[in-house]
Symmetry: C2
Subunit: 507 residues, 2 copies
Amino acid sequence: MSTYEAKLSKDGHVYTKRDGLVGGLNTYAVIQPHRKVRSVDEDSVWEAIVIGAGYAGLVASRDLVKVGKKTLLVEARDRIGGRTWSAEVDGTTYEMGGTWVSHVHGRLFAEMQRYGLQDQVMTTRTEDGGCSYFTLDTGSGTRKFSLQEAAEMTARAWRIFINIDGNEGRGICPLPHSSLGNVRVSFDQIKAVDQLSCRDRIDQIRHLLTADELALIESLVPHCGGGSVESISFLEMIRSQALQGYSPETFEDIWTLYKVRGGQSTLARRIFDDAVKHGLQYAFETPIKSIREKDSMVSLTTVSGKIYRAQRVINTIPIAVLPTISFDPPLSPLRREALEINQVCYLTKIHAEAEGDLRGLRGCTWPGDFLYIYGDGFCAGGRSTRITSFAGDNRGVLDPLKEPERLETALQRFHPMNIKKVVFHDWVSDPYAKAGAAWYPAGFLTKYLAELQKRHGNVLMASADWAHGWRSFIEGAVEQGALAANVVMEELGVLGANPPPGTLAKI
Amino acid sequence: MSTYEAKLSKDGHVYTKRDGLVGGLNTYAVIQPHRKVRSVDEDSVWEAIVIGAGYAGLVASRDLVKVGKKTLLVEARDRIGGRTWSAEVDGTTYEMGGTWVSHVHGRLFAEMQRYGLQDQVMTTRTEDGGCSYFTLDTGSGTRKFSLQEAAEMTARAWRIFINIDGNEGRGICPLPHSSLGNVRVSFDQIKAVDQLSCRDRIDQIRHLLTADELALIESLVPHCGGGSVESISFLEMIRSQALQGYSPETFEDIWTLYKVRGGQSTLARRIFDDAVKHGLQYAFETPIKSIREKDSMVSLTTVSGKIYRAQRVINTIPIAVLPTISFDPPLSPLRREALEINQVCYLTKIHAEAEGDLRGLRGCTWPGDFLYIYGDGFCAGGRSTRITSFAGDNRGVLDPLKEPERLETALQRFHPMNIKKVVFHDWVSDPYAKAGAAWYPAGFLTKYLAELQKRHGNVLMASADWAHGWRSFIEGAVEQGALAANVVMEELGVLGANPPPGTLAKI
């Protein structure tokens, strides 16, 4: 049980046959009242304004107020967490976006240790229960495998796919936090690999795979990177391989096994509440329309026309949403080119509550509806199963916003089931996300990543979308928020434990 | 080139035939003047006193002053870094203790990112150069292998050694930061494994190994854990395996490959200088003899009789040295029992400068002198090689303090060589270390670890010696320092960006 009270957010949807599609879900992430700004500070110049209350913004805000920087957090939504939040529906917690944690995500794990949550984890999938098998349905027939058979086939296919350097990625990506060039591999070597899409790579190794292995890698890659095998850079798969320890055996444990027991929003709340305790002021439901810098002062104009001013701004707006913000002076041509190309992740994570025990269910129906589905433990009460599914790029394929009732048919290709409800967040139609976690096409990173990471005058750009290491992960957001906050501290100065100015003379 | 000036520390020794054994080495870690305490604060009650300027103490101090806590750092030595420091000798940097870094050490890597050092790394061993082979000399004959042969034999032996659960440690230690019990493995399961010494485990698998593989595992285990195979708990080897990603292939990269280009002391200096900039006051060459708490106030008495008082103390004194400190009230019987048993790491790291190119040299002469040696790149000038060697428990075997000239004979068992100088820090005879990194005997952790981690009234105990995750690593020190500082902040309160008390009424 959480000590927080779940309140209704505008975000997320639930579908039931009885009530149809209903927008808005309860979550610990909603902040009410939505605004806390002291009247004396309202029109003052803030030391820092942080745009966005996802993990990057939360960590940056918390770090800044703790050292005494007068900070305003502005957020378009009614809740914290950005692309990571958990909904509470009839006693069951659903992770609507970013989910997984591990000690290998060092900064995120440090946050969990800081707030005493390091052991408050649970495993995402459970192997016991009924229907413990893997369905592979490629449109040209359905096969069922044991979970172990499927894991072994997937591991073999992945090893062949990733092994472009004869050393399972160690040669090309020995240092995944400096994946575009480092003490061991030159930028030029990496640039050559960055020209490959995952499709290019699959074409190189296709003859080494069985038809089933090929089908598995064709669904695994877009499940990881959210786009299509054509649109995702192979280099990003190598970086993932490196971050996961170069081994399919540890891959799942590090990437997709553990989640926060009370839901991600209970961790986000701890960071937010810590920040508020230390003086953070905030305005939710406050989308920004423009950012202007003149004479070193940054002015933000909200959609409703209110202006906030600050010495420094930490902007955590995702790459897909940045083009909706007007910048003066304008963003560099190179950055605008990058925004124009954009990231490629358009998968949709959809939860279903299915009657009975389907905890062991796994599989994919791809090409088709689902890149991957898995049983994710019982729902509250223990008589129904939470099934988590990942629809491929939903723009025109399986769109739960348009045809939520189709989900039942789609899931029944795995096993006969009776679905009680469907719970999801459609990130693609969400105006403050417009896409999922950021993954990029071939050639993008070596050309644009450094530019995306650059500051724009006194606007620091901090997002998991262009993190150094765990790009597109919660960990990457924490990295970016912490580093940006540190730059602000360095530039504005922190009094710390020094005597306040003027007091030395009095001693 | 470092921007710091290397100054002479009392720590470390250099031996040359011409000058014999000389104590004291130059390092960026020396802090001069050794004391900075404002006269008004001298006899005041500090909010926090941090004992020890190793990584735990540096991080705790930096974090505390940055949020405005009036903090005094007291350190027995004339330098920062504790059991991790780098010496500068004739233009060459020697790592005298803790050395290696990796992005998998999440908190340490975050420090490197914070100070812009994430790409300022170099690899410890180089494979090129002359003498690229591995010597295995067990006293009953010498064999030479290619580096790859030796790596493969070692990996095979390690896999068999570690595989007690049929899953290479994943079963017993899925969550190495909660290695004594977690959501997947019960404390009782772990307690059973904790009864095994590494000798017990070797006896179980001895029949599966060749004589050479057995010799390699018999030297690898004490090289990792610093004691003997009899004295080191097998459970700690499983934790190491888990932290390294369960794979001998990633083991070296994570554990022993990358070091800070300018030496560890350049990283430690950045943390220290950052703390000083934010108001840290400090007293080096100030060993403590007693810690007393009365009416919630903690008093420290230095060896020279000076008393410092604080609301909270963060004590980072290593386990082997803690018994030299008098506590009032006394430490708990259980903790005293743990201190009595103590840790087991008594290996000695010894560097030699050898003429010519011996960069590829590797090997071990064990049982005997060396658990492991490796060529570690050229010394300044490029005409001699830095050879790093690890002598087993040196109390009576190879003791460079007593017989430094014997080192040349011992190293010549690997290859004919002419040694120009020997550089080392004898941690065992060092009164402020008394041992190396902390590794423990069978049965110790499940009985004492939780007790060692406990606070003693208002004295928080923060040391890598009892860290949760990377126990005995720099990463563990950073973990402990950060967590302890956070407890102090929580308990004493941090004003942060809140209006100073009394100002609200004036608005």
